[in-house]
């Protein structure tokens, strides 16, 4: 029984954290009314959402996929094209884009999953670069100039708003849904199977797990969500071009957020995004004119973190928590 009490006590601490974060999400727009702070938080939440999506394939299924910019770009382009050329509202456009991205990810994932380790990562990088070069020269999508969405002011059906508050609410809801989805998945059969595949693929296969199928499931879910993020981006910025939605930096940033935060944990990407994306916005605001400074600081954190705390921020929090518990139990004893 002793272990079960500890589980409940630990869980409640975790839930207090969730509750606090939920309240923060709700209260933030009331305190920080200024559009700039809203815009920064929108970007932070967008990357928390993307990080959570990548966490599904990178953190849980343990596949180092470095080509998710392709799906982000597909999502952004498909919903924008449907809106500009056919007048289809971005909401259904987003779902169509996400389904197409999911399909493409499975199509490219299936052959790539035969590859092990570094080769899988390299294959995904190559795939994403091919998509970028293709979009850069494809007249229909505007080539290097990209697509400009018409500015229509406030219109829910056109997924466009004059103030940033509705955007904030939408991305918060997106993020909460992705958080719950990953939370549900991690507790389910799929989540266990992912962790097994990540830990030892052969042992997993011998226990009746079709590893390819479950890797494809993780690929589908992660690219589906990342593609939704792409649509949100195109509706927020109202401009889509290959150098902003299809570049390798984006694939790295999406993975980085989850890795620095703590892969394979539900809360990791949130921590990672708040740390890295918020930090880079603040540094850019503070030392705007020193070229490249925020990326240098970014890089130092990444290197130091990956060497000394590979499990990411979550591991640091766990250490702090256990340190507190030890102190408390010492104090009590």
């Amino acid at each position: 029984m002793r272990s079960y009490i500890r589980v409940i006590k630990r869980a409640s601490l975790r839930h207090i954290g969730y509750l606090a974060f939920a309240m923060f999400l709700g209260v933030y727009p009331l305190i920080f009314r200024d559009p700039y702070f809203l815009y920064v938080m929108i970007n932070v939440l967008l990357y928390a959402f993307l990080g959570e999506a990548w966490n599904v394939i990178g953190g849980y299924a343990g596949q180092c996929a470095l080509g998710h910019a392709a799906f982000f770009g597909l999502g952004a382009y498909i919903s924008s094209l449907l809106f500009i050329k056919l007048g289809v509202s971005p909401w259904p456009g987003m779902l169509i884009g996400a389904l197409v991205s999911g399909g493409v990810s499975v199509a490219i994932g299936w052959p790539c999953f035969r590859l092990r380790g570094a080769y899988f990562a390299l294959a995904t990088i190559a795939f994403a670069e091919m998509v970028r070069v293709l979009f850069n020269h494809w007249e229909f999508v505007g080539g290097a100039v990209g697509l400009r969405l018409p500015v229509l002011g406030d219109s829910l059906s056109a997924f466009q708003f004059r103030s940033y508050l509705p955007y904030y609410c939408i991305i918060s809801i997106f993020f909460v849904l992705s958080f719950l989805l990953v939370w549900k998945l991690s507790k389910s059969k799929t989540g266990f199977y992912w962790k097994a595949i990540k830990s030892d693929p052969d042992a997993a296969e011998s226990l009746g797990i079709d590893t390819t199928k479950y890797k494809l499931i993780s690929m589908f879910i992660s690219s589906f969500l990342v593609s939704m993020g792409g649509t949100f981006y195109s509706q927020l910025v109202l401009y889509v071009d290959p150098t902003s939605v299809l570049v390798r930096d984006l694939s790295v940033r999406v993975a980085l957020v989850a890795i620095v935060g703590g892969m394979g944990t539900i809360e990791g990407p949130v921590l990672g995004s708040f740390m890295m994306i918020l930090l880079s916005s603040l540094i850019r605001a503070r030392f705007g004119d020193v070229p490249g400074l925020h990326l240098v600081i970014f890089a130092i954190i990444l290197v130091v973190m990956s060497i000394y705390k590979p499990q990411g921020m979550m591991a640091i929090l766990e250490d702090i928590k256990s340190w507190i518990e030890r102190r408390r139990s010492l104090g009590a004893a």
């Binding site: 990178g58 180092c64 470095l66 052959p111 790539c112 035969r114 590859l115 092990r116 380790g117 570094a118 080769y119 990562a121 390299l122 294959a123 990088i125 190559a126 795939f127 670069e129 091919m130 070069v133 293709l134 850069n136 020269h137 790295v252 993975a255 980085l256 890795i259 892969m263 020193v290 070229p291 490249g292 400074l293 990326l295 240098v296 970014f298 890089a299 130092i300 990444l302 290197v303 990956s306 060497i307 000394y308 590979p310």
Partner: protein, 289 residues
């Protein structure tokens, strides 16, 4: 020689010569990947650093890039040892994702540090010792590329001999095959890692001196070479120096020919080849040699 065939021959030749330079850069990456089993995503940035070093030596002392070769090779050999001791040593046991992202971190660090220190301006060595070109029967050959090709052949053979003949070379190949077995045979694996990483960066130092002849340096100069190097090492099979050399020629040729047909999609072709090799024959040419 009818103009068209001369032109095409010229393109093929310059593709091969350029392939030689790519092969040299990839040789270092292949060695590091083969021995340490770490995919060095910062390889391109080291090349950028060596190009800056050559530029500053030329700018401050007027020494021609080709004469800086001994300096860059030596300095980058030492740099390789320091990087291995300082950073790579910690991540040898780490998961693949952590390894890749430490090297991503180093790539980001070096590119942006260069941007902060030397601004983003384009710097070129003007009128180096070797420049211009000559035409034999209408086929144009570029001197800097010819010299670079020569040096990269020399370097590849030197490394190959070093690996085959010398004691350390054999030890490196043993560590590449099976780290634990080599360890049991009394090989100081850590020192071998340092030497291998040092050798890997030494080739990058040499490549920097050669490229400075015809290529301008700026903080992001190394990135494109890095993508080519990844393709070449995969085609050649990591750890195989001769594999990388031949793969370098193939990729150089593919780039030149596809550029002649449709320049816009030449990277599409290169990445296409990369993906196809990965899917069909991940171990690359290594088996074939």
């Amino acid at each position: 020689m009818p103009p068209d065939t001369a032109l095409i021959l010229g393109v093929i030749l310059s593709g091969l010569l350029m392939g030689g330079v790519y092969a040299l850069v990839s040789g270092g990456l292949s060695l590091i990947w083969g021995v340490l089993k770490v995919v060095n995503m910062a390889h391109g940035s080291f090349l950028m650093l060596s190009m800056y070093l050559v530029y500053w030596i030329w700018r401050l002392t007027g020494l021609d890039p080709l004469l800086t070769i001994p300096i860059t090779v030596a300095l980058f050999f030492l740099l390789g040892i320091c990087v291995q001791k300082g950073i790579i040593r910690h991540i040898l046991e780490a998961s693949l994702v952590n390894q890749i992202f430490v090297t991503f971190g180093m790539w980001m660090l070096m590119n942006n540090l260069a941007l902060m220190l030397w601004k983003a301006d384009f710097r070129t060595v003007s009128n180096p010792l070797v420049s211009g070109g000559l035409g034999i029967m209408g086929v144009r050959i570029s001197f800097p590329k010819l010299v670079s090709f020569g040096f990269s052949i020399l370097a590849t053979c030197a490394i190959w001999l070093f690996l085959q003949r010398t004691k350390i070379g054999i030890a490196i190949r043993a560590v590449a095959q099976d780290r634990k077995a080599a360890w049991l045979m009394g090989i100081d694996v850590d020192r071998i890692y340092e030497v291998s990483f040092g050798l890997g960066l030494a080739t990058v130092g040499l490549a920097g001196s050669l490229l400075a002849n015809f290529f301008s340096v700026y903080p992001y100069a190394g990135d494109i070479f890095h993508i080519f190097a990844l393709t070449i090492v995969t085609l050649g099979g990591f750890g195989s120096i001769s594999g990388s050399f031949i793969a370098g020629l193939i990729i150089g040729l593919a780039e030149a020919v596809s550029a002649f047909i449709n320049p816009a999609l030449k990277y599409f072709v290169v990445f296409g080849i990369f993906l196809i090799i990965l899917l069909l024959k991940p171990e690359g040419l290594r088996e074939a040699l």
